[in-house]
Symmetry: D2
Subunit: 354 residues, 4 copies
């Protein structure tokens, strides 16, 4: 029973409030003997960090990870890996006006109801700042299952969707633009849309698609730890996520069996892949693909009617430095959580045959 842990054999446990001294975590179960590229970890953090472009929050936070244990002379030792990321730019004053006020569609009210108190500075524990911890752990997990190619990208912003199948995309282009969309044409429209939304003091939702390629066969446990169930849980853990679908997804619910079945080739691969690379909860070696829905960020720059902790009606004034669209910064988070799930099942699978 762990409220702040993710994973089974490879387990991440985290701590940290948005405006405390530091956030951080412990990665348990990472095997010994892996030569680690710690610069690559920092690069992943940089993909997530605030202030990186015009279409994300202008908060400046270096987000530098410090590893405190479990790595010796660049190699994992098999002991627990502790790390922290110091909070350096906590403008608590930006938030002081919200101390007692419940921001609509934030977690202020539910935290207060559940715990009887809360660290209200910047959302405290409910802040998406927590996901920086996940990116650190995911970046190490990626190195553990480095043969698998994990690529996430922005597949829609509001009503702007990429209109191509993922097979026609070049994932090398994802980092070429600030919205992290590998389709240049769509990327341009998305960026314009976010700028327009931002100017209006509003926010907008979007989706991220993630593809895992070069998959080993056999990952996933077939009853309650189905590969897609763990991926779904991982994605639904990310702040602002409202939905998850894999393979044919919600479209599959409108199809007939004769259309939906993936016919085998002689080598065990399948002609179509509506299954999304998973059959019976276990990877079959085909590409895994899934889509994640993000709601628009709740913090907007217009005034909103609300209540405070005494149940008094009040107005909340739009201030602070927030993201007009969470999706571009969430791309590395989706990849990180995918890597954690796959690495966990990879380790587990070593124990399933005698």
């Amino acid at each position: 029973m762990s409220f702040n842990s993710f994973g089974n054999l490879l387990k991440l446990t985290t701590f940290g409030e948005s405006h405390g001294t530091a956030i951080g975590g412990i990665i348990d179960g990472f095997p010994a003997g892996v030569k680690l590229d710690l610069d690559a970890v920092q690069e992943e953090l940089n993909r997530r960090k605030p202030g990186q472009s015009k279409i994300v929050t202008q908060r400046k936070e270096p987000d530098t990870v410090e590893f405190l244990s479990g790595i010796f002379e660049g190699i994992s030792t098999g002991t627990s890996i502790g790390f922290i990321i110091k909070n350096t730019n906590q403008k608590s004053k930006d938030y002081n006006h919200n101390t007692d006020v419940y921001r609509p569609s934030h977690a202020d009210y539910t935290y207060d109801q559940k715990y009887g108190l809360r660290d209200f500075r910047g959302g405290g524990r409910s802040s998406a700042r927590e996901t920086a911890n996940w990116v650190v752990a995911g970046a190490l997990a990626k190195q553990l299952v480095s043969s698998i190619k994990i690529n996430a990208f922005t597949s829609s912003v509001g009503d702007i969707f990429i209109d191509k199948p993922y097979q026609e995309l070049d994932f090398k282009k994802t980092e070429n633009n600030i919205v992290r969309c590998p389709d240049e044409n769509s990327a341009e429209k998305m960026i314009s849309k976010i700028k327009e939304i931002r100017k209006a003091g509003d926010t907008i939702g979007g989706t991220i698609t993630c593809i895992a390629q070069n998959m080993p066969i056999g990952l996933g446990e077939p009853i309650f730890n189905k590969l897609h169930a763990e991926l779904g849980k991982a994605m639904l853990s990310i702040n602002a996520v409202k939905g998850f679908e894999f393979g044919s997804g919600f479209c599959g619910a409108r199809m007939k069996g004769s259309e939906h079945n993936d016919i085998f080739n002689a080598d065990g691969s399948t002609q179509s892949n509506l299954s999304g690379g998973i059959q019976g909860g276990i990877s079959n070696g085909m590409d895994i693909y899934f889509r994640v829905a993000f709601k628009p960020v709740a913090t907007i720059m217009s005034n909103q009617q609300t209540i405070n902790s005494k149940g008094e009606e009040t107005e909340i004034v739009g201030k602070g430095r927030h993201d007009p669209c969470v999706v571009p910064r969430a791309v590395p988070i989706v990849e990180a959580m995918t890597a954690l799930v796959l690495a966990d099942f990879y380790l587990l699978n070593k124990t399933r045959k005698a």
Copy 2:
């Protein structure tokens, strides 16, 4: 680490193959002193059992649950509750022709690859027969959190959708028709559709919507055990599920923050409920609602090209007794898993304040 367990404080562990002697499970952590209605458990099983109507598989299986421990004179004792459901109608012969053949979009291939062997009779462990165990546990969980009203129903079959918000539906009507749709007009169309599909030897997908009302505030742990993440994992564990969304879901990804935010009333309730009753992973007392996508059943009555375990091409002939649409029988499964998640968090929440 448990491959066949679900839940934390309230934990279900299961066993059983489709054509073995029996399936069953152990419910651990059920509190002492709950007066149990065991007939109500059997009634839930009856909602799920095969052969109950013209639009489900015609297999006959009484699915009688026997409780072996943990209940004394009708009251839970706080010790583990063991139960079994005997398999009485295993027509293994129906499946013998499939021994060595990989059925398309089934788990035969992945089991063989993962484990090196499999109990091939009727899908073995991968059979949805396993979910009878879940219904038993869920029926007990419902009694533990009996103040919460959990109602699932068929919200679409193929392209036939209920076109009303759930607030306009009368859940008492769900059991009035064999497709378990509380909207009579839609129900009729859905039943016709399934009959037509069945006649064609095909299968069809659909969706189930589930509503939890009269929710206590504060259920859910806000980082990796978010209420909606556990619900998502639970739903994605059900055979044939391809997607999960709650509250505004995938539609939310197309909205603006100014449209999406739920403005508070003075009593802490909200004017709209796009959040789906959950903020920051914690229930806020509003209705929880979510939608689950089911693919069409993979077993169809036409011949399909496939391979066997030696990699030889062969043809699979459609035979056996299978469901043309899984959705009507999955309604009690969705409710059961919802009850398990809510009961687990209900127990957990007793420990979160000093």
Copy 3:
């Protein structure tokens, strides 16, 4: 969080009351592809069963295990292994006089206080009958780590101790006598002692020593899952156990470092083995040995003053069929729990190097 589970990767979950329909369990995480000797499992159960000799309880219970899943054509399939042992000889009448009475040094009082009620027939869940489940799981675990030789034996009854180091004993002789002591001379004295105690309507304590030989190096996780800590927890889980020591044990607490250190040979083995085969929580390849203390059985045949659930003073009359000394029947239980611990760590160790 599981109150009725033991183990991590290899996990046993159990249920069952002494006088219910059946007891049983689920073994999760057992790898696929192990050819199993199920007769050997039953033989282990026979070593534990009541009525096997003059110095144990004369209750007759066949204790036949039925496997319900997870084994196909004699080979483990990697899915969960469910099993039950039916209760056939529940003379509930023997216990009816105790319904409301708290037996001294039994768990009646604490169960009632903790849960508010209890199944009082034969001790209900607190009965050592539960350990039959453990023997089943341990017998399978033995087959998983069959290269390790696990031998437990009775090392003392009351004040009668084997006065030889274990290296001088021939474990093949353990089963030659009914007290399970491989030293014939001591065995004879122990048997006489137990017969004498039994005649007096009394009971007596004893110790069991267990040796694991041909150990692989590297089992055990060095912080909170130290090999000896898990062994200790396993032994302290057995009914009536009051103490556990390994290697030099309590004697080691009287020694000096210069006497206690185990000096290495060139091949990594050690000249002495006061460490008991474990250094820093990890097996070093030397023999593991430990000793377990069992108190005298609390049920005696004399009348004892006590109270009932209303707090009224009453007298309990010695009746029923109980063991004068628990140790002979506990030998297979100690071996079973040792096997479970070692098999769990064996699987886990497959994941600790990249």
Copy 4:
């Protein structure tokens, strides 16, 4: 599955090597709303820290704990509590001569065998420095179950034992002397003994006894999470521990049932307490008492023959700053682990009745 975690609902996860930047941990599941005395936490650390007296290691390390999250304005918030303790006095040079050499009865050899490499500086992860983390968590746990009085003390050093029952001791005197023995006469002899041993460059073992008074009834889960089994596991997790016994312990194995049974008083208390406050794995309200055996510290100041990682014979020269007897500094560790176990079961018990 967590190799560096302890506890269930209240869970401590730790990291850190002896000579890394810092050690630390995350406490998960601590309930919200507890007013915390953080000075009291530091005081517990001071009881454990090196350099505190003449009879412990002369290493100087301030061992200052920094809390990073989970506490807001002095009150626990219900979110995870992260903390670190910086390593300030890592004289790695003292250890450099041991890089490649396996110290007898240390964990050097087993770590190398298990992981293929190790951080050899000061024992790395196997150093008892780790237990500073446990003292931090235990000090918070004590505040959670503050009504329970937990008192540990040195009950023997080598052959010098306190010759009084614990009921005759005044625990307020434990901190009056540097060996932490509440019996002044014995304390004096123990201190002399340790000084003598130290002078000889040797080390010596000892025992710690721990008493938990004012116990609530009902703590402990009766099958695999028996209260004494968890206490045993906790104690056996402490470096250098070789044995654990509670209540009558190993003496109980020599007794008869008629002597050993604890007869009830009308109020449910018992006349004797050979059970040690636990019946059937559940606390009965009587004092819990147990005894823990510590071997002599393996690092001695004489030269010892040994091998290095290449299997070459070599000699290890006694150097460094080590404890002649681990027991005085282990007293707060025993209390801390006891508090963690009791607090965990206290939380758990809130969920066991409907």
